[in-house]
Amino acid sequence: MIGTSQEQHLRNQSLHQRRRGILGNTLEAQKKRFGLIFALPAFFFFGAFYLYPLFQTFYVSLFSWGLLDAPRFLGMANYSRLFTDREFINSVWVSFVYAFGVVVPIWFIALGLALIFNRPFPGRQAYLTVYYIPAVISLTVWSLIWLLMYNPTFGLFSVAARAVGITGLRMLDDPSTAMPAMIILSIWKGTPVYMVIFIAGLRAIPTDYYEAAQIDGANAWQRLLYITLPLLRPVFLYVMVISIIEAFKVFTPMYILTNGGPGSATRVLSMFIFQNGFQYLKMGYASAASVIFLLILLALAIVQFRLLRFQQND
């Protein structure tokens, strides 16, 4: 009798403990479950529309496929063809020329403007608004505006060029000026965004640094060189990474103004992929080009992060 009641007691106790254990776990488990439920859409979405396509790009690149016929396995043949395709090599080159032609001037102009806007002056907010306007105009619209601007006979750009003595300018028809034409409109549109990012970065620098430097007798130039620029490094790196990716993604201005021409002068990688995929229906070949495109950007990102680590160490 006693034994059984003791057993009962023990059983009750362990049951109690277990229940507490379960209860404790359920609170934690419940939290875990809700965390997962809230994140579930993201798992599905990024799985279906990013992760799966990333693998699929590589998989499709191993085939010859025109969408309407059956895919034919090629192995790495698409890649070996790409590396001997002068059009592709040209596209890689054109993308690099465009990207660096755009981003390097943008870094300097945006930083310069940010330094100007970092100090108070009459009408600062109004000027900031006006200077930002190119960034809020849709890129399609911006491209159409510049199509008109570059028109050889009555476009404002050509008219202005004539006014300073440059005649016979056909920006979009001449292979040597088509790329500069793209670069000009892209710098014009891209600078304000990075200017605003730099302004935010400058504002995050504590003012005591400047006050201390001023007490020590540092002049404006020294303050810029030894306080502002070093402390702006993380922002500068962010701007570098994002602007280069953005520049490599470019498509719309080329589609609207030149369609990659004249010849292949403005056929950037996105244009190459788009044309091979959707105009010549070479899904495998375009996918192989996409993989190379991705690898190029990956390599650039690694170089930039190396640069960051190096800068942090010194």
Binding site: F38, F49, P53, V60, T252, S290, L297
Partner: protein, 277 residues
């Protein structure tokens, strides 16, 4: 020269330079506006005109009459509107989960979301099209919308804001017996309202402007959004610049007006993308 003279002098010169810069920077936009009010012969005349001789509204009338412009406009409004709503629904939810919960796979998800910021859309264009085609979504609204239902940067932006919401608020509500959904809707969301507006602005601008995907996924005229409609118009009517500019003004107006109305929020949003506030 004494400083008392050079100071105001440089200030005046600075103002002049800023003003000249402002004129230069806005010239393309003003030129678009001006050209949209010119007649075709005015724009094409041998004597260059910067401004129209009269405000000619005919281009705006013709742009709606001549082609499916109304359709493009309503498609753009609908597609952009739904994309913004979907992002407002999902981004804070996922951001909250990443900021305040712990579960297996969380860090992988966060890392992956961060990594997708680096993946250019073009690199997954072909397979994404193949998936959408497999689902039978080519030339449908869901085909235009669903690939943009979430964005990595939106989720990340929300996460950054929600991390700064004190845990005490959430735990106090939990002790009071509020359900997790109630905590999310009645405590977390109201606290991050400014961030939600920023998110809405950024997503609105990006999807209003989206070009490549809309170009690839629309096969007919019926589902084209404004950017695609304008690009196709340019292919058909090579020389009707005044109509192109009228259409462009209409396409650019919503974002420009929104920017002028909400400039501070806009600029903060752009800076916010870089993780600075």
């Amino acid at each position: 020269m004494p400083r008392s003279i050079t100071r105001p002098l440089s200030a005046i010169l600075g103002q002049c330079a800023l003003f000249a810069g402002a004129i230069l920077i806005t010239t393309p936009a003003l030129y678009m506006l001006s050209a949209s009010f010119m007649t075709n012969s005015e724009l094409f005349s041998a004597r260059f005109q910067l401004l129209p001789s009269t405000l000619y509204w005919g281009n705006y009338v013709e742009v709606f009459a001549r082609f499916n412009f109304m359709r493009y406009l309503s498609n753009s409004v609908f597609v952009t509107g739904v994309i913004v709503l979907l992002n407002l629904l999902f981004s804070p939810m996922v951001g909250y989960s990443l900021a305040k919960f712990d579960y297996p796979g969380k860090n992988i998800l966060l890392l992956f979301i961060l990594a997708t910021v680096m993946v250019p859309f073009t690199a997954i264009l072909i397979p994404l099209f193949l998936i959408v085609r497999g689902l039978g979504w080519v030339n449908t609204y869901q085909g235009l919308i669903i690939p943009f239902a979430m964005s990595a940067f939106g989720i990340f932006l929300m996460r950054q804001f929600i991390v700064s919401v004190p845990d005490d608020y959430i735990d106090a509500a939990r002790i009071d017996g509020a359900s997790e959904f109630r905590i999310y809707f009645q405590i977390v969301l109201p606290l991050i309202q400014p961030a939600l507006i920023t998110l809405a602005i950024i997503v609105f601008v990006a999807s209003w402007d989206e070009f490549l995907w809309m170009l690839v996924v629309t096969t007919g005229d019926a589902l084209r959004t404004l950017p695609i409609g304008l690009a196709k118009f340019r292919e058909q009517y090579q020389t009707r610049f005044e109509l192109m500019m009228a259409g462009s003004v209409i396409a650019a107006a919503p974002v420009v007006i929104m920017f002028l109305a909400l400039q501070r929020r806009f600029l903060q949003g752009m800076a916010g993308l870089s993780g600075l506030k």
